[in-house]
């Protein structure tokens, strides 16, 4: 830096013109620092903004039950009501949707381009039970399903690659004590989802994101309609919009 600086020689007159010229050259130099002026590792938290653009978290602690049935891969239809075909939004009121949705609303629209690289999403739920209350033959095949939805450009969009399954682990056979229901009641399984949503995930309908929520339903192969129920308890969802793009243009 200051490679153009020429000091006033000993014995020379220190005129205002010369002093102004010195200050001016320094000012010009400092106001347009070259890349070599910044030492590697010299910038830290006081110099740079947060990587986090926005974030939010939501949770449910009580039990919430679901009975709607899986509509098939790629189908994101949502139904309100019991034992229908379609997904349910995870809600404090369960299938009826009568409570509050598990949802993170960032409170503003964010465009997932440039430095707003994407949404880091974390979801956990405690599956306390996945019951088939009528089947007695051990042939029932039950799964609980979950997937993430992002509110983008004014519409909810499913992130299909986040769809997760968990089995009911139905227990039958000699030696199983207690009723069928009691065996299933202690299912207690973890369903975690971790994902990062970039603009590539939202080519349609668009990259303007604001909210995130989670859907759930049951897939039953042989169980009778109306006999299955998925019970969740501790459930939480966290979302963070971060700067994470790397632009090494030089």
């Amino acid at each position: 830096m200051a490679d153009k600086f020429s000091p006033i020689s000993t014995g020379d007159e220190a005129t205002s013109t010369k002093v102004n010229s010195l200050f001016s050259s320094l000012q010009t130099e400092v106001n347009a620092l070259p890349i070599t002026a910044i030492q590697p590792g010299s910038l830290h938290d006081v110099h740079l903004p947060s990587l986090v653009v926005d974030s939010g978290t939501d949770s449910i602690t009580g039990t919430h039950n679901y009975t709607n049935q899986y509509p098939g891969w790629g189908n994101s239809g949502i139904v309100i009501g019991a034992n229908a075909t379609g997904w349910s939004i995870i809600n404090t009121g369960g299938t009826a949707g009568s409570g509050t949705d598990l949802e993170v609303d960032l409170g503003a629209d964010y465009v997932l381009t440039g430095s707003n690289s994407g949404l880091l999403i974390m979801f956990n739920t405690n599956v306390v039970a996945l019951d088939d209350t009528t089947t007695a033959t051990g042939t029932s095949s039950l799964y609980g399903l979950f997937k993430i939805q992002v509110y983008a450009n004014g519409a909810w969009r499913s992130i299909q690659r986040t769809e997760r399954y968990t089995t009911a682990e139905m227990q039958y056979g000699p030696g199983i004590s207690g009723t069928l229901a009691s065996a299933q009641a202690s299912l207690s399984k973890d369903v975690p989802i971790r994902t990062f949503i970039s603009n590539a995930d939202l080519a349609t309908p668009g990259h303007v994101v604001r909210k995130v929520r989670v859907l759930t339903c049951i897939s039953r192969k042989l169980a009778a309609a109306g006999s299955t129920q998925l019970s969740l308890k501790e459930t939480n969802l966290s979302v963070m919009l971060i700067h994470a793009s790397l632009q090494e243009s030089l």
């Binding site: 102004n20 001016s24 910044i38 938290d45 974030s55 602690t61 459930t235 963070m240």
Partner: protein, 208 residues
């Protein structure tokens, strides 16, 4: 902070030493070269180049810590409280607790944990094994997990169903976490004869 903009000394006048010193090291920074002393910001950068990742000090914008353990860790009701509501009924699990120093007010802190847990009790049994996360000593009500019963009596023998062992995980997100030391730990309440834990990890990641 704006670019440096030094007031020129009036031509053909006698220079005032204070005026010159003000331009060198005045407190009014944009009018002095004192900005060189830690006051330079993005506006001083020549716009022809962008800040490179190697300009940023390691761990300056986000950092983290992790703890884990290997081997089996057994819990037993013989040395535990019989009811969940007893004081100190939940005990911290060695290897699944973490203390960490956040060097600035963190806009976001994420804690994640993973553990494998199993027990050997009859389906019809009434014993309980519960996990619960504490952060800075406070119970996190959405981080409670149960280890299910997993055995049946077959011909007088106790048969374990290994697929009923559980891999549990969880996370919490905290905003505006104060600079300083913080802690988190997974705790267990066990009134079954035995529960076996295999700890994976407890991680803390924070962002400026």
């Amino acid at each position: 902070m704006a670019d440096i903009s030094i007031d020129p000394i009036v031509a053909s006048s006698i220079m005032d030493a204070d005026e010159v010193m003000e331009s060198f090291n005045g407190h009014y920074r944009p009018k002095s070269l004192s900005m060189l002393n830690g006051g330079l910001e993005n506006s001083n950068r020549d716009p022809s180049w962008t800040i490179q990742s190697d300009h940023i000090r390691r761990s300056a914008l986000c950092d983290g810590n992790m703890i884990g353990a290997t081997g089996n860790l057994d819990q037993t009701s013989l040395s535990a409280s019989t009811t969940e509501t007893d004081a100190n009924a939940y005990k911290e699990i060695p290897g699944c607790g973490i203390e960490f120093y956040v060097p600035y007010t963190a806009s976001v802190l994420i804690l994640t944990w993973q553990i494998v847990a199993a027990r050997a009790t009859l389906y019809a049994g009434s014993t309980a094994v519960q996990l619960r996360l504490q952060y800075d000593g406070a119970i996190q009500s959405d981080q409670v997990r149960t280890i299910p019963n997993n055995a049946a009596s077959l011909g007088g023998n106790l048969v374990r169903f290994l697929h009923r062992d559980r891999v549990w995980s969880g996370h919490i997100m905290k905003n505006n976490v104060a600079k300083g030391w913080h802690s988190a730990s997974l705790t267990i309440f066990c009134n079954a004869l035995q529960a076996r834990l295999r700890i994976r990890n407890m991680k803390a990641v924070w962002f400026k």
